[in-house]
Subunit: 182 residues, 2 copies
DNA sequence: GTCTATAGGAAGATAGAC
DNA sequence: GTCTATCTTCCTATAGAC
């Protein structure tokens, strides 16, 4: 096998950046070529089913990084408070303090093909389930609802950040994310 | 002036639906023609600067409907509790109980041209300011933050609804929206 | 595995008749 | 104000050499 000019991880990173900035339909193959440093024929060699495959690869890579930064700390050993704290730190890091949009939300917002939409639901479910389990350990009532509400607060704050330019709401949402339920 | 085949309001409504479903880049002129019932030359007659103008018209129409349903009740006379209640009712109606995505969020998520993005910030600011004023009347501390957080909760719940298909989080976010601050 | 070159079609936008 | 017809550009995807 001939060595790849660009490592798979670097390609995936570049695809995530491009799709996050322009959306699925807004990102043209030409843009993905510029982002990855590969010509279109090379991209199609790696992703034979075309743009949908490129979006799926980006989604998988983004979900993997998110899982490592945010979900894994929730699933790790330790007391609930410190697991929430480590997960919140992962959130700040992953979204660069609110300056980065969520690829899931961008794809969910519109126009992504069916297989991509399926991946979104799975990634959200994994986060919600892990957070629900931690909140249940704290003895919170309706931990599933509380988990969904905290996740919604984070996503909503990212919408505001993109709409208004201010990341203050994101910082508050993450702070609330690491607190124990009342 | 020759009578229009399709009323301006009907055209605006159709544009909102199409853009909300497919996003800015995902909605082709062809799709907008099917949605409005007009041929492309007729659309360009009404919107001489092309697709960007069509998106701006959709945004203005959506913001107008949102202002009437959600923001005006906040700015009306009456005690804070009933203004919040009427605004929350407008939210449920406007987003069809969480089943409809927010055009602002769809455009904000990605790929909308600069003039459209400016309109988004203005619409969000109007909502936030009106909500802040009502919350300040209730004597809440940091009413501006509280307003932003409530708005973020609604938008986040709409992201979840689109990603997971469940509108439960939206219903909770709106219920919290109409409550007085603690 | 990556490239140049290009097919084939859909995209945004316009001309000019009615 | 709306239409048919069309222009040009851009897009996704592929063929085939290296």
């Amino acid at each position: 096998m001939r060595p790849a000019k660009v490592a798979d991880e670097a390609v995936a990173d570049a695809l995530v950046s491009a799709f996050r900035r322009d959306g699925y339909a807004g990102a043209a193959i030409r843009d993905l070529c510029e982002a990855t440093g590969l010509k279109s024929a090379s991209l199609y060699h790696r992703f034979p089913r075309g743009k949908t495959d490129m979006a799926l690869a980006a989604l998988a890579w983004a979900a993997g990084g998110f899982g490592e930064a945010v979900v894994s700390p929730l699933e790790a050993a330790g007391d609930p408070a410190s697991r929430l704290r480590r997960s919140a730190a992962g959130l700040r890091r992953y979204y660069a303090g609110g300056r980065l949009a969520c690829l899931l939300a961008v794809f969910a917002a519109s126009e992504a093909p069916e297989p991509v939409r399926d991946g979104i639901a799975a990634a959200l479910a994994r986060w919600r389930d892990a957070l629900t389990a931690v909140l249940a350990e704290t003895g919170a009532g309706a931990p599933g609802d509380e988990a969904e509400d905290r996740i919604a607060a984070v996503h909503g704050s990212l919408v505001l950040a993109r709409g208004t330019g201010s990341t203050a709401a994101f910082r508050r949402a993450v702070s609330r994310m690491e607190g124990l339920p009342p």
